[in-house]
């Protein structure tokens, strides 16, 4: 398999006043095309930081993040925004939908930002909402949707631009076990159907087990990379 994203000796620390908090202390691995990867680790181990770096939301202090062969450290803010718009889809723990917009409008947002025509935007958004099983609720606002439904909207929004990589930060962290499992299954289904690469950050071992590979992160370093039986089957 070919690498779609490379993480090379990445270091990142945060400064809080005079204290420097190391979040990542030299992390390296390759993300393979169309794999479903879990980043697993306790709270504060640097999972979110790693995900943000891979998605071009932030830049590492040291090391390289390679997407399509180019190092995101060298891209300016506008190019990074473009990268996030066209190559990356984000799913967050707290859904992060715009509360005043309907499910449909929330899903349309990336296409609107990209300047896609209204007609195409509407058609694609309906399609993707159907794919995540929400065709009945497209005109509901986030507050009128359950947590699971909100996360489906967020997934639809992440997928609307047909990104190569979908990054999900604790997507089940705010859901009950059953709904959380359904969401992971949905992402798995989409991963297989559309051949998109998924990275799911979680501290729930059951969720991690649904992935092809699990990267175990602790205190900002990779403790181990484990291939699940699921992957071995392939």
């Amino acid at each position: 398999m070919t690498a779609i994203l490379g993480v090379r000796k990445v270091r990142k620390s945060y400064r809080m006043g005079k204290v420097i908090i190391p979040a990542l202390r030299g992390v390296s691995f390759d993300l393979e095309e169309s794999e479903f990867l879990a980043i697993f680790g306790p709270s504060g181990s640097g999972k979110s930081t790693l995900l943000h770096l891979m998605g071009g939301l932030d830049r590492p202090d040291e090391g390289e993040i390679l997407i399509d062969g180019s190092n995101i450290l060298e891209l300016d803010d506008d190019r990074l925004a473009e990268l996030r718009l066209t190559r990356i889809g984000f799913v967050f723990q707290f859904f992060n939908l715009l509360p005043k917009l309907t499910a449909l409008r929330n899903v349309e947002l990336p296409l609107t930002i990209a300047g896609i025509s209204e007609k195409e935007t509407l058609q694609k958004s309906r399609e993707i909402l159907k794919l995540v099983g929400l065709e009945e609720r497209i005109n509901h606002k986030p507050s009128e949707l359950s947590g699971g439904e909100q996360q489906r909207v967020a997934i639809a929004r992440a997928l609307i631009n047909n990104p190569k990589i979908v990054l999900a930060d604790e997507p089940t962290g705010n859901l009950d076990t059953k709904t959380g499992w359904e969401i992971v299954q949905l992402m798995r289904k989409l991963n297989e159907k559309k051949d998109q690469t998924f990275i799911v950050v979680t501290h729930d071992p059951n969720i991690a087990e649904a992935a092809d590979r699990i990267i175990h992160l602790k205190d900002g370093v990779i403790e181990g990379i484990k291939e699940t039986p699921r992957r071995k089957k392939q």
Binding site: D77, D78, A81, R84, N96, I113, A114
Partner: protein, 378 residues
């Protein structure tokens, strides 16, 4: 049939608004002296008699004239040639000492009248009131016969007098009737209206120790102009202050809105919005505030202008009420607000510009937000 304000015509009237001896009557030599002043093109005196009754024996009709004016026809017609226009172009070949010329409103007292009270060559019996203390009773009425020389076209109020309500009689005849050599008003025509104030001063200089009042249209217009300028300056300063206050208000509202929507901005940036996109978003919002505010402002301004114009108009009553100058049509000067499309557009553009300028700071603040920080914001 409103014409431009007659700027070259001054009116000398007896009395003064200020303290001092006042001159109550004019005489032939006053007119002669005034005529000698440089810049004076012509001067003519008139005598005015209130409330006269006209009877036409041809059709047995009676009308009342608000003001009967005794004039030196030759001079008067020349001075007011553009207002002294005869109906159907029927005008006297010669002004006799029994000629009467009838103003439009006297000839057609109501708007509905289509048949004139009189036409040229009709014989009119004029009833004049006379007040003579050597006579008993001191007030009595006399009837005189006049021949209509012509009737005037409707002219409205180009100056401060309205000929529509007047009838005109030969000055010599009226002086004989009243056995006097006096007159009540002197009309002065200046060659250059720009000089009218200087000429007015020189006319005043002829009368000391007595005082007279001179109505100078230019002065009147200048006064109106001055008042309007003061109003304008006042409104401009009010506008500038409100603009600043409004601008700061807009900045404040938008800054609060940016802070409140920090998380939303973070989301937008996370899903790929560039800083410039966020900036454009907030500036569009500022512009929208400008457009809406501008439209509200313009409609309010429209209403207020009418209210203000109405108020100013009621202040601008002519000074000489209860005299020949007061006719139903000279009672009020009206100010009509003018709304030009250019100024309206300019106002809206200005509102938008103000909103954009004051919206720039909060919009930049929003654009510069770090997506990760913004997403962590509770």
């Amino acid at each position: 049939m409103q014409q431009g304000f007659e700027l070259d015509s001054l009116t000398v009237i007896p009395g003064t608004l200020f303290a001092g001896l006042s001159r109550d009557r004019f005489y032939d030599y006053d007119v002669e002296n005034i005529s000698k002043i440089s810049g004076v093109k012509a001067a003519t005196q008139v005598m005015q008699i209130g409330n006269v009754t006209l009877y036409n024996s041809r059709n047995n009709k009676t009308v009342k004239a608000f003001v009967a004016t005794a004039v030196n026809f030759t001079d008067f017609v020349e001075m007011f040639s553009d207002r002294f226009v005869f109906e159907n172009d029927v005008h006297p070949t010669e002004y006799e000492n029994d000629t009467i010329v009838i103003g439009h409103k006297v000839n057609y007292p109501t708007e509905d009248d289509i048949i004139p009270f009189a036409v040229a060559n009709d014989t009119i019996i004029l009833t004049l009131g006379v007040f003579n203390q050597t006579h008993f009773p001191p007030y009595y009425e006399l009837n005189y016969s006049f021949t209509v020389g012509g009737t005037l076209q409707k002219k409205g109020t180009p100056g401060i007098t309205n000929f529509d309500y007047w009838i005109f009689l030969p000055l010599e005849t009226v002086r004989d009737i009243y056995d006097t050599l006096e007159s009540d008003l002197i009309f002065v025509e200046v060659s250059d209206s720009e000089e009218s104030e200087r000429v007015a001063e020189e006319i005043e200089g002829l009368f000391p120790p007595y005082k007279v009042t001179i109505l100078v249209p230019l002065t009147f217009i200048k006064q109106v102009d001055r008042i309007l300028t003061i109003v304008q300056i006042f409104l401009m300063s009010v506008a500038s202050i409100s603009l600043l206050v409004a601008g700061i208000g807009i900045m404040n509202i938008m800054t609060v809105s940016v802070v409140e929507r920090t998380r939303e901005i973070g989301i937008l940036k996370a899903i790929g919005a560039k800083s410039s996109t966020v900036l454009a978003m907030f500036l569009t919002e500022a512009m929208l505030i400008g457009v809406i505010g501008g439209l509200i402002g313009i409609s309010t301004g429209y209403g207020l202008s009418y209210a203000l114009a109405y108020m100013l108009s009621s202040f601008m009553q002519p000074q000489h009420q209860g005299t020949a100058f007061q006719t139903p049509e000279t009672q009020k000067m009206t100010i009509t607000p003018v709304f030009s499309p250019e100024w309206t557009a300019l106002a809206i553009i200005f509102a938008i510009i103000v909103c954009i300028i004051f919206g720039l700071y909060p919009a930049r603040k929003a654009a510069k937000l770090d997506p990760i920080e913004a997403l962590r914001y509770e």
